[in-house]
Each structure stands twice: as structure tokens, then as C-alpha cells.
Symmetry: C2
Subunit: 408 residues, 2 copies
């Protein structure tokens, strides 16, 4: 393998030109953390500037009547259409992923009265686990923990073992944040439903990189963030999905004015909107929804299946590079070898990785690190080039070699 | 009274030059809704644009280590210092006001076990009332409603009548969103404390326009938004205050990774940060905190006492204009006549106001409307000029006269 092969892969990449749509800083030589924070779409800087002077500064409070009030739902529909296989009226944008998880999990627990267990896996993202620990304590629920094998994710068989008459809800990540393992969402959902339980999928690491078919799979609830593969910027608001037929009966606990039928009526009693709006609580972040819209346009142009195809090639190339350059130095691949079983990032373990992150970042080589010893290569299909990936892994090899050489 | 007097007031206004620091759209002839959405600071457009290309696009994920992780607390401290009389380490920024109210109210209820009542007033902002209705239902609490007189706000005597051994918490707005009535926060707080209850003040309509001394007054909890007099932009993140000595014992229900001691440790159990950070849940909106910082700088330059002095002159001038121009047409002042008893907006009631809002807004005259019949003149001391206010009320008079003339 040589740099030529990366160049060839780039030359034959049908999505290669999308890279020009993004801000590419000259001091960043390999950005391999698009799964933590996506690069900005180039047009975003101008759009935000125009938003401040024109829409906010010019329309002022009138902006709420003209566009902003509906924005959490119109942007939600756009995410649903381009990435989630969700018909309109089921996705809202607002709050952080953590707050949306809290609202949806509480809604689900109330919707399954009498059932006292929630199924979750030990490899799920900390905020999912922490939120569940809090809700379990306050609602008197028991958490049933699934423990994925060290080189895999949650399997349908594991879920089948623990779900039952007492299961209210199953909360899993579609793509595991550390290993990148891609769960079999349709099969696991069917198993949960057969037991009478609801399912909530955390889509943070799949939305925008792995096709999701929420409606077709019969998913009840989902949530995800927009600053990873949707490039909404640091702390951009998250999204939540509630299947249409659940909306009329589910109630979320953070009863705010923006979730009512007529927020400007200022009436005495909280009356939730009949549709997806009832899951909105307070005033949504309008500026925070701007950048992601440019990215959603690019995703629609490219098509999520094309994006997935490039993602699979990128992660396959990453595995090749890891095998050739890092495994000989003692690194261990911590992601599935089968591209069908992984999302858009590849994780490698080595005890020396913690020490080489600072020099790599300072040199403009930016992978991600997950304690205690995992280096993640996050590959964002519309922005990561094969050459950039190779430059990055070669730099990691040099640093790792220096850090592990006997002379040191 | 003539336009000359407005010009004279502007000429002798020591804060008049601050107006030039804001985006002033030529098609907006009178913006009288700064208490709903403040105008952008002029520098914000450039700052946001540079943020996208430089800090987000250039530093990428490294931004979290460099500045973003601490931003909810550094900006919180800045709000505390410039507007709230709060020593560092007690204010955080993030979420919507609604979500912060939920977290703080739940924390307070848990901190007063055995007490089953929460005191709130019927004129409080809808989201405060709705949140409380939800929490009362889920926690088995009873709401004790204080009913302010139609021309006033909640008084200390009214609160004294209802607080007692069973009161866990008193939740009131410092400045009432409709009438502009300014509550006697120190006296009411002392009354609540004497009964062993906690107090939570909603500061949405006071922060940035009315001096607040949270530490001196011994306030337990407070929350407020940043898009009114802090000019953070539509949906900019809210702030919460938790008095230092409560932080170690209070726990909030939305246990997210950003509220732990070491969020990047990804440990198995939620362990809340020992300080104010424990009230943060998910990833905070970094872009949403930029615009308000420029405004906080201006507030520090002007000084909150100077701002309050101009606010009192503005509302006094508004009352004069209302008396001269609108009362003869049947309008009724719905705000206190004593400037010491009101915040920075003045509300007038007339049944025809609902009909004249659309033509006013279309003509670039922008007051606010609150059902069923209230027109609010929101006066933002660093951006509203006396002439602008007069232009606005004169236009309202013309529209009201046309709408109520017998010929119509």
C-alpha cells in the first residue's frame, strides 16, 4: 500500500467534490474526528452573519411568526427525510441529546405502566447510562444490563435473553460510540416489540453516515445529535423522533410553553399540542439550527446510500492502514472487521495512545481518544478524503513508534 | 409634550452612544420589543462568522479542551458579575429557561423532603406555571396560588399568608412578564426563609435591566433567559443560579455526562461534579453563547445602575406618552405608576390592540402584544432612544384612532 492507492481511491470517489464545500483549515493535515464534531459547511459563516444582521436584526421579534416558530419541526422533517426514513411530523429539533433522552425515556416509562425494567447495554454512551440511572432511581425501575463481547456490540440474541413481560423499554445505540459496532436495529426492535416493550435508539453515531429506516423498522423512539455527521457546530441542538401513533398518548415531563397548542394564548393550564410539538419544552435555539441545514442539503444531494458506500470504503481503508502500520507496533483493532457490522469510525487500542495525542493534535493530526487506550478514526464521508486518512495514520505510526521505541 | 422633549432626553442621556453598537435596521422605525428579543450587538455578525471559520473550522474538536468546556461557567460568572450580584461559581449557562426551571425546581423539592407545597402566582409566565403543574403531578405536590391584584404584582404580605411548615419552595418572577411589576425580592425571600422554604426567582424580565443582588439577598435559586435584555439572539441558552452552599447537597434529575467531574472518563456511574457544573446536563450550545458576551461587555461598561436609571426614565416617559396619547382613546395603563415598582416595560390594555398589531408591525413599528388586550412597550436601555419611543407611541395612537373611529 502506498500513497498512490489513496490517491486512486480519491480519484474514483464519486463524492470527492463535496469536500470543497467545507471549511478546510490549512494547519489541519488530517481531521479524523468528524464523528465528534463535523467540519463547518463553508456557506455557514456567511449564513450566520446574514442571519444576525438580516433576520434577527431586521425582522426582530417578527421572525417568530415568519419562520422561527416552525423551524424545530421543518428542520426535524428535513432530518427525517434525508437521514432517518421518517415521514413528516415525527421529528423535532431542540435541547441537548441528554435532555431529549430524558424526556423520551420518561415518556416511555409512563406509557408502559406496571413494567419495571429498562434494558440497556454497558457499552452505551455515558450520558445514556447516567440518564437511565437517574430515571431508574426516581421511577423505581430496574436496569437490566446487556454486556456486549469485547470485540462486538449488542446482539439480538442478547436482547432476547433479557426482555420479557416486565420490560418497559430497551435503550441502545445504533452505532456504538467506542467500537463503532452497528447493531441490528430491525431485529432487536422486533424482539422488544414481541415482548410488549418499547425501543429507543440513540442515533448519535449513525445519523448522516448510516441509513436508518425508522418508519419501516417500526421504531418507537429515537434521539441523536447534530454536531457529528450533521455538522451543526459545537452544541447544536439535538433531535428526537416519536412515532406518529404514540404522540397522542405520550406525555413528556418538561411541560413548557412551546409544546402547547397555542403558546401565545398564555392560558392557565398546560395543554400539550396534539402532535410532535408536545415534545418541545422551551424556546428553541434558532441560530443553532442554521448550520445543519446546509449539511442536510448536501446529504440530500449526495444521497445517504452513496454516503454509506463511501463510509464503508473509508473504514475498510482505515482497517488496512491499521493492520499494516499500527498492528506491528502492538495496536489492536477494536472495531468489527466486517464493514456491514460497523458505522463510520474505526477504533484501535494501544496503551501508548494516551501519550501521543497531544503531539499529534499540536501537529494538526486530529484523531479522537477514548479512555483508557482507544484511538478513534472518525471518517465523515463528505469531508474525509482517503489521502487525508492515510496522512493521519502514517503520522500516528510515527508518533507511536517514537513513543514505544526502546531508546525512549 | 413634543418631539423636542424626546430629543432633549436623548441629548442628555449619558448612555445614548451605546445605541450605535447595535444593528439598527432602517426599516424598523420603533423597536419596542427588546424585552422579548433584544437587538443584536453589531460586532456579533463578524464574531459568529469568525467563530465558524476560525474556532470551529480551525480548532475543530480541540476547541473543547481550549475554551468551550469551561464556557458555560465563564459566561455564567460574567452574567453573575455584571447583572446578578453573584460571586463566581454559582451561575451556569445552557438549556432553555424551561429546562433549567425544571431542573432547579426538582432539585429544590428533593431538598425539602416532607414538605408538600409550592407557592406560585397566577400571573407568572406560562412556562413557569406549566412546569410546576407537571412537577406537582409527578411529585405529589400541591400548588398554592397567590393571586396578585389586577393592577399590581405579588406582595410580601400575600406570600406571608400562604407560606408555612409545608412550603418546600416559592417560585415567582422578579419582574412580571405582563404588567412589568417589580416584586420585593429581598422581603419575600426573607419571609420564605423564615418558614423554612426555598425560593426560586425567575429573572427573565429583570436580568440586564434591573439590578439584582442574589448573594446579598440570600436567594437560593434563580433562572433567566439571555435573549431579552442580554441580546443573545433567538433561543440563546438560559442561565441558572444555585447558591454555593446548596450545590453540594442538591441533585438535579437530568444526569448528563457534562455535569460529572470528569466527562471524558466515561465511567460506569454518574458522579455529579462537586460544584455548579452538576447542573449542566448535555453538550452546551457554544455558538449560542457568543452574541450575549458582547452585550455583557457593554453592560459592564455602562454599569447596571446607570442602565436602571435610564430604564426608569424611559418607562416614565412611556407612561407620560400613554397618558397623553392613548388614555384619551380608552386605553388603560396596566403597569405600576411608581417607577420603583416596575421593570423596564410598560403595558397598556385596549380591546382594539389585537387588530392594530399587524399594520404596526408591517410599518416597522414593533411593540409586543399579550392576549387578550395588552400592548407592551419593552424598553431596552442601551438600545431604545426616547425619540424612538415617541415615534412608536405616536404611531400606535394613529392606528388606534383609526381602528376606533366611528367611521370604521
Amino acid at each position: 500500500m502506498t500513497l498512490t492507492s489513496a490517491a486512486e481511491l480519491d480519484a474514483s470517489d464519486p463524492l470527492a467534490t463535496f469536500r470543497d464545500k467545507f471549511v478546510l483549515d490549512g494547519d489541519v493535515h488530517a481531521y479524523l474526528d468528524g464523528n465528534s464534531l463535523g467540519r463547518p459547511v463553508k456557506a455557514s459563516a456567511d449564513q450566520l452573519s446574514k442571519f444576525v444582521t438580516g433576520e434577527w436584526g431586521g425582522r426582530l421579534i417578527r421572525g417568530w411568526d415568519e419562520r422561527w416558530y416552525e423551524l424545530p419541526l421543518t428542520v426535524g422533517d428535513k432530518i427525517g427525510r434525508s437521514c432517518l426514513g421518517a415521514a413528516p411530523g415525527q421529528v423535532f429539533v431542540g435541547d441537548s441529546t441528554t435532555v431529549i433522552l430524558y424526556k423520551l425515556i420518561r415518556s416511555a416509562v409512563d406509557a408502559r405502566p406496571g413494567r419495571r425494567e429498562i434494558v440497556v447495554d454497558t457499552d452505551n454512551f455515558p450520558t445514556d447510562r447516567f440518564i437511565l440511572q437517574g430515571i431508574a432511581a426516581e421511577c423505581g425501575m430496574t436496569l437490566r444490563w446487556v454486556r456486549p463481547a469485547s470485540d462486538a456490540g449488542v446482539t439480538a440474541a442478547q436482547v432476547a435473553e433479557v426482555v420479557g413481560d416486565d420490560t418497559a423499554l430497551v435503550v441502545l445505540s445504533h452505532v456504538a460510540y467506542r467500537s463503532g459496532y452497528l447493531a441490528d436495529a430491525p431485529a432487536i426492535t422486533a424482539i422488544a416489540h414481541a415482548a410488549g416493550a418499547l425501543v429507543l435508539w440513540d442515533l448519535c453515531h449513525s445519523v448522516g453516515s448510516v441509513p436508518v429506516e425508522l418508519d419501516e423498522w417500526g421504531i418507537d423512539l429515537a434521539a441523536g445529535c447534530t454536531y457529528k455527521y450533521l455538522n451543526g457546530g459545537p452544541g447544536s441542538p439535538a433531535f428526537g423522533y416519536v412515532r406518529a401513533d404514540h404522540q397522542g398518548t405520550m406525555r413528556q415531563p418538561i411541560q413548557g410553553w412551546m409544546g402547547t397548542n397555542q403558546p401565545f394564548e398564555m392560558g392557565p393550564e398546560y395543554e400539550p399540542h396534539e402532535g410532535i410539538r408536545r415534545f418541545i419544552s422551551g424556546t428553541p435555539a434558532i441560530g443553532g439550527m442554521l448550520a445543519m441545514q446546509g449539511m442536510l442539503d448536501l446529504i440530500e444531494q449526495a444521497g445517504i446510500d452513496q454516503i454509506r458506500a463511501k463510509s464503508a470504503l473509508l473504514t475498510a481503508f482505515a482497517v488496512e492502514l491499521v493492520d499494516e502500520l499500527l498492528v506491528p507496533l502492538g495496536a489492536v483493532l477494536a472495531s468489527p472487521r466486517d464493514p456491514a457490522l460497523r458505522g463510520s469510525h474505526v477504533t484501535v487500542d494501544h496503551d501508548a495512545f494516551a501519550d501521543i495525542m497531544a503531539p499529534l493534535w499540536a501537529a494538526g493530526i486530529i484523531p479522537d481518544f477514548r479512555r483508557p487506550n482507544g484511538l478513534r478514526l472518525g471518517l465523515s464521508p463528505l469531508t474525509t478524503s482517503f489521502s487525508e486518512l492515510q496522512v493521519g495514520v502514517e503520522a500516528i505510526e510515527r508518533e507511536l513508534r517514537a513513543a514505544t521505541s526502546p531508546a525512549r
